[in-house]
Symmetry: C2
Subunit: 318 residues, 2 copies
């Protein structure tokens, strides 16, 4: 594990709550009855801006030196990371730029604008925009904020694991959707440092299983990914991402789920819990549901990592 | 106002949090930008069991004497009040019965069963079941818990107002859906006692405007109500309800909304906030939206009183 990561997570847990929310861990009578496990949902969906991403970016901004903060930060994202960065910059008074690809949907840009930040259009597509953003930051002496390939960001996401163990020290397993690996890496690093017997289960869509394929290959690989309901976790990773070694060490098991299983998990959660969740969150629930027999009478935590599903997708899966 | 109601609300706020949640008051960038007001949502939808009802019933159970608690309680409800009562009884170790009408839908009964309580079928329809439940309680020496016509229940609901003023002492107006009047009565009683200049706005569906019609008539009237998306607030009231005089005193304005306005408010909230709400909650938002011009640059609170919308209704309004 990265040296000092648990200490960094503890430090993050001592500072991010100035602008982030401690989220609830709610017992689910329905999913517990149906599966025989004791099912708890970690509601990252109730974080400000609707996903766990605010934890990492808040910690990153607070870890920057005064000199760095004066120069500002740069990121590239039209999704949850972009909205979270806009929110955190405004609350913490850090200036910066959010770069987005040409042709990004107005709906996605709106969630950044509503947080008081006007995105700047640069780069023909998301991957390219990230490279442009890194160059742009380097040229201007600004700090580039990766959504996952950054130790302060990962430490920030790890505060979700900190809260899980505070609320349920006896958790037997934690199910997390894996994209770039920042969330599961942070949660796993904390939990393995405090309760090493707790299993950390990584769940991915069959249509975009980049981290799992990379772990199997022993190096970060690029995949030709198919579209998935889990758009928040989809896509390839930096070849040098720090989350690769971290996931190798802290993730006990990997589960793949189909698009039908994701859609079913979304529908069931909405019908029974009466809350929204996005596709990536449903990946973790779907992973648990196909593996539930293993966890009878045990306490399992399913991380509902975000709620930002668009109305058309929602109508489709209901 | 009922003598001592603010004191009872303060007392409730000192005891209900053993089993109820303090709910967030979240600023809405979208609705603020669209209307020019500073819009805050009081998320009673995030209360355990998905509605504000748990506040009132928790306070009622905790206000009962040891002798009363030993004899147990009785209520009649297939809806949010029933699920909240089941939850509170189990957590507080109070035994009791939840009576439901014949033919109540299995979906509604499931939410009571999931809280660990088997409902007892009595009475041909909801109004009749309430009368049967009162008689049943009287015969057995048990305590009948009305969803709104009870000073301890109203005091419990008032804790939502207590939290609103703690979080936003400068609130200019609070919009609340009105059914039996327990929620707006409690919120209004607290707020008028602490910040009398804050306006309390009651919102009702055109299809079931019982309290507004009663206030206009100067007495509780029965109406032939039409079906409404706001099923949680629909129906006639006890003729002796304590909430009638209370609403006369604490409610500044009354707004009616159509079914189309309720559906539009639901759709817009789900699209923009990515959270669920039930029809009654949308009544308060719809009331604000048709009245928004009056509140430019002012802080308004809209109470999202519950989230328990069924999937078919949800699919329909999207």
């Amino acid at each position: 594990m990265m040296t000092g990561l648990p200490e960094r997570i503890d430090e993050a847990a001592n500072r991010i709550y100035s602008i982030t929310r401690r989220t609830p861990l709610d017992f689910s009578p329905y999913f517990s009855k149906e599966t025989g496990a004791k099912v708890h949902f970690k509601l990252e969906s109730l974080q400000y801006t609707g996903s766990f991403k605010l934890r990492g970016v808040t910690n990153k901004l607070l870890a920057m030196s005064e000199v760095e903060r004066a120069k500002g930060c740069v990121t590239a994202s039209t999704g949850n990371h972009g909205a979270a960065t806009a929110f955190a910059m405004k609350r913490l008074g850090v200036r910066g730029e959010i770069l987005v690809p040409q042709g990004a949907s107005q709906t996605k840009l709106e969630s950044i604008r509503l947080q008081g930040c006007e995105p700047r259009v640069l780069g023909p597509e998301q991957g390219e925009t990230e490279r442009v953003a890194r160059r742009y930051a380097a040229e201007k002496g600004m700090v580039y904020i990766s959504p996952y390939n950054d130790v302060d960001v990962v430490a920030g996401q790890g505060t979700a694991g900190h809260e899980i163990l505070e609320d349920l020290p006896e958790a037997h397993a934690v199910f997390v959707c894996v994209g770039g690996g920042g969330l599961i890496g942070g949660i796993g690093a904390w939990i393995k440092s405090q309760a090493p017997e707790t299993k950390i289960i990584g769940c991915l869509p069959e249509n975009s299983p980049v981290m799992k394929a990379s772990i199997e290959a022993g190096r970060v690989v690029d995949l030709d990914c198919k579209p998935t309901l889990s758009d928040g976790s989809a896509g390839n990773m930096d070849h040098d991402t720090i989350t690769f070694d971290l996931c190798r060490k802290v993730v006990d098991d990997w589960l793949l789920v189909s698009e039908a299983e994701i859609a079913n998990a979304m529908r069931l959660y909405i019908q029974k819990e009466h809350m929204l969740l996005e596709g990536s969150a449903a990946v973790a629930l779907a992973g648990f549901l196909k593996n539930a027999a293993r966890w009878k009478n045990q306490d399992v935590v399913i991380v509902i990592c975000g709620r930002n599903v668009d109305a058309a997708t929602l109508k489709n899966i209901l």
